[in-house]
């Protein structure tokens, strides 16, 4: 089920009503767990077996860690191997099989690639990471293993954020599940602006920009200016789409008495690559930092070479997490190289220019670099991107492409206005002012007038 399909409305209404009618926390959690499995298995019920398997393994491994302290490492390995094994099989099997066969072919050992018809379970990358955070935190002693299976299962499967995040940490979210929740009208007041904002971003901005971006990226050989315009549209699309999902997830969770992690903090205002990753998909980038980058040695690694390697591995794998294709890996490595380059220039960590003119310059450079990254990310394949950029047409532009690009860029500018308005509201207007109420009413008007007829799935479902 997705937030934008009609079936979600009666589903959510039923869950919401029943949930608040049930007074006991245990019953509320059981209801949410059932609702989460219905939500997840709505199209492919067998997906539920997968998430149940992952949950059971992690639940038992964590319990085992609590009981048998000497076997903690083995149990952690079992948990990690099982989770990554499932993720690897469902998401990457065909990719690796194809590439091994291609590599063998090029070195003179032709192999037939064994490909399997696999349906990628939506959200597997998200819940795998979320579930892993539980066993790893138990292993590290940050969290006591939980005996209540329903609580652990709900932590893994909580439907508002199940298929596209934010990726919650057990340390933060399990205590919320275990705490009694009472109806509070202030929560509702805090939830609906997020829902309105989320639906506006998705139905109006992201779905319109998707039309622009998809057209450009379906051209056999787009000219450079068109590629830039299409990439600007895609940058807007992916941000509006993904942050919309987060907003709706957070708003829904608030309706049920939970608080989810903030996932975006105006990412396109970043002035450096490190700054970008502190603002973009925060729950994922902090997961990579805490469970991969730092355990590998991080910035405290002994040599510069080791530091660079760790960064390349961490961000390369971040790219691979997004999908089984070389352009995602290239996107991750590209961002790693940016971080390395900025570090070499002494612009690492929390660097921020003092003077406003410098800040604008740094923002412009970083925005351009981010766009290049999105170009790599969105390209149908690396070979398409390389051939588009290499070709003579790729470097120039015709009158028609100039006109089309200007139309698209103007459209992107118009459709980004609500995002700018929300940013202004968040920063400059104290909450609960009339201006907020008026803005959200106008957002609903805009949705009624400008929502796209043909809805698209949320982009991050595929990851």
């Amino acid at each position: 089920m997705i937030f934008t399909c009609f079936d979600y409305l009666p589903f959510m209404a039923a869950v919401f009503t029943l949930y608040w009618l049930l007074r006991r926390k245990m019953l509320q959690n059981a209801l949410l767990l059932v609702a989460s499995y219905v939500f997840y298995g709505y199209i492919h019920p067998w997906f539920c077996f997968l998430i149940a398997a992952s949950t059971t393994i992690d639940y038992l491994c964590a319990l085992g860690m609590g009981r048998h302290r000497t076997r903690r490492r083995v149990l952690l390995i079992i948990s990690v191997a099982a989770n990554l094994g499932m993720l690897g099989f469902f998401k990457y099997f065909n990719f690796f099989a194809d590439n091994i066969a291609a590599l063998a072919g090029t070195i003179g050992f032709p192999l037939d690639a064994v490909t399997v018809r696999i349906i990628l379970p939506v959200g597997i990358s998200f819940y795998t990471f979320q579930s892993l955070s539980y066993t790893i935190d138990v292993y590290r002693g940050k969290l006591a293993p939980r005996r209540n299976f329903i609580d652990v299962a709900l932590f893994v499967a909580f439907f508002p954020q199940l298929v596209a995040g934010p990726i919650e940490r057990a340390v933060r979210f399990l205590p919320q599940i275990e705490t009694p929740r009472r109806w509070d009208s202030r929560r509702f007041a805090a939830a609906w602006p997020l829902l309105v904002r989320g639906y506006l971003k998705k139905l109006v901005i992201a779905d319109t920009m998707a039309i622009y971006a998809d057209k450009v990226y379906m051209l056999a050989q787009p000219e450079a200016l068109l590629l830039v315009a299409g990439t600007v549209a895609f940058a807007l699309q992916i941000y509006a789409d993904f942050s919309a999902y987060t907003d709706i997830a957070r708003g829904t969770a608030r309706l049920l008495g939970f608080e989810l992690t903030e996932n975006f903090r105006s990412p396109y205002l970043a002035v450096s690559p490190s700054d970008f990753w502190r603002r973009w998909h925060i729950s994922f980038s902090s997961w990579i930092r805490d469970y991969l980058y730092i355990p590998l040695g991080g910035s405290r690694a002994s040599s510069r070479l080791a530091q660079v390697t760790i960064l390349l591995v961490s961000l390369g794998l971040s790219g691979l997490w997004h999908g089984a294709a070389w352009n995602f890996i290239a996107w991750g490595i590209y961002h790693a190289l940016l971080v390395i380059f900025y570090r070499a220039l002494g612009r690492a960590g929390h660097w921020r220019p003092n003077h406003w003119a410098e800040r604008i310059g740094a923002w412009f450079v970083m925005s351009s670099l981010t766009l290049i990254g999105w170009m790599i990310f969105r390209a149908p394949s690396l070979s398409w991107l390389i051939s588009s950029l290499r070709s003579g047409a790729g470097l120039g532009f015709s009158g028609d492409s100039l006109i089309a690009s200007l139309v698209m860029l103007t459209g992107a500018l118009v459709y980004s206005l609500p995002l700018l308005l929300f940013m202004f509201l968040d920063r400059a207007v104290p909450r609960r002012r009339v201006l907020h109420a008026l803005t959200y009413a106008l957002a609903i008007v805009a949705m009624l007038l400008f929502a796209q007829d043909r809805g698209f799935d949320f982009i991050y479902f595929q990851f």
């Binding site: 399909c5 009609f6 409305l9 998809d214 057209k215 990226y217 379906m218 051209l219 056999a220 068109l226 149908p380 398409w384 009158g399 028609d400 492409s401 100039l402 006109i403 089309a404 200007l406 139309v407 103007t410 459209g411 118009v414 609960r432 002012r433 009339v434 907020h436 109420a437 008026l438 959200y440 009413a441 106008l442 609903i444 008007v445 009624l448 007038l449 400008f450 929502a451 007829d453 698209f456 799935d457 982009i459 479902f461 595929q462």
Partner: protein, 336 residues
């Protein structure tokens, strides 16, 4: 409290400004000028007093020579076509021009490809709305039901019926589109008002697009949409096809459906299983209603040399060749 009041007042005010909700979503043009397509088709129809009417889109327009067909069949033949026209347009032409004529034709042949006969919403919005309105009567409840209310979720249906603001969507989209293209970019680049739209058409012309570049997400979405589109029985219930058949029966006009062969079908394995099942169901349905289906898809006499642009036959060899095949395939023609 003041926040809730402000919030509601904006929503109410917006709806008030948009006016009361319309009960009729699709409204034909009351008075027609000489530039009207309906005016022209009606005039052609009146002067031709045809006995055999061919109804379709550009595939028919390019693919059949009406004079040659008339010669071959011995029947007064008239083509009524519009480039890109789909079932809503065919229905309106049938109902408002053919069925209302004092002298009705003996046969109407409806040309379609793939699943277009049961795709009620195809080419009904954007620029198509004006084309349909030109062909429509002041009230077209079947269009309201099938195009604007059908195939939608209950929430959207309710918005379509009751929200005057929602009813302004097409106008709002057109306003924004015109604003950017005609009022901003065209004067800025000193182009004629329709210059930007034409440039975009050229830049994103079909021949410049590569279908293999679809992302997995796009493919999945298209598959889901097409899976729904290929289920014949539910789609047929929500289509103009039963209405067209009923209309033909009521007016005692023989109806024949002709499925055109697409370039893709030159490869005998190209037709998907889903489409084969759909066509079998379509054939069974048409037979049950006494409507013959002539399917040119498997016909090997139509080779690649007869095609021009896309799925259209070329005028030099394709058009006469197909006209001969059609004449031979039509029931009651002398060659039968």
């Amino acid at each position: 409290m003041i926040n809730i009041a402000s919030f509601l007042s904006v929503l109410v005010l917006a709806h008030v400004l948009a006016g009361p909700p319309r009960e009729i979503f699709f409204q034909g043009v009351a008075a027609r000028s000489e530039n009207s397509r309906r005016y022209h088709l009606s005039a052609r129809w009146a002067s031709a007093s045809a006995d055999l009417v061919l109804l379709g889109n550009s595939l028919l327009d390019e693919g059949v020579d009406e004079n040659l067909l008339a010669e071959l069949t011995g029947r007064r033949t008239l083509k009524l076509t519009h480039g890109g026209a789909a079932s809503a347009w065919w229905y309106l032409v049938f109902k408002n021009i053919i069925a209302t004529a004092p002298q009705k034709p003996r046969t109407v042949v409806l040309f379609f490809r793939d699943i277009n006969l049961t795709n009620a919403t195809r080419h009904t919005t954007g620029p198509w709305r004006a084309i349909l309105e030109d062909m429509a009567n002041p009230r077209e409840p079947d269009l309201d039901r099938l195009v604007y209310l059908g195939q939608r979720s209950p929430l959207i249906r309710s918005l379509v019926r009751h929200s005057s603001l929602y009813q302004q969507r097409e106008r709002a989209h057109a306003w924004l589109d015109r604003g950017i293209k005609r009022r901003l970019i065209a004067p800025l680049l000193r182009l004629p008002p329709n210059g930007p739209a034409r440039a975009i058409e050229r830049v994103f012309a079909d021949e410049r697009m590569d279908g293999d570049l679809l992302t997995l997400r796009q493919i999945a979405a298209a598959n889901e949409r097409s899976a729904r589109a290929f289920r014949f029985a539910p789609r047929c219930r929500e289509s103009f096809l039963p209405l067209i058949i009923d209309l033909a029966a009521r007016e005692k006009i023989e109806l024949i459906c002709v499925r055109m062969k697409r370039r893709r079908d030159l490869d005998p394995g190209a037709e998907s299983t889903r489409l084969k099942t759909y066509v079998a169901d379509l054939r069974a349905f048409l037979e049950s209603r006494g409507v013959p289906l002539i399917d040119f898809t498997p016909r090997t006499e139509i080779g690649p040399e007869y095609y021009g642009v896309g799925d259209h036959f070329n005028r030099e060899t394709g058009r006469p060749h197909f006209t001969h095949l059609l004449a031979a395939a039509l029931p009651y023609s002398p060659s039968h």
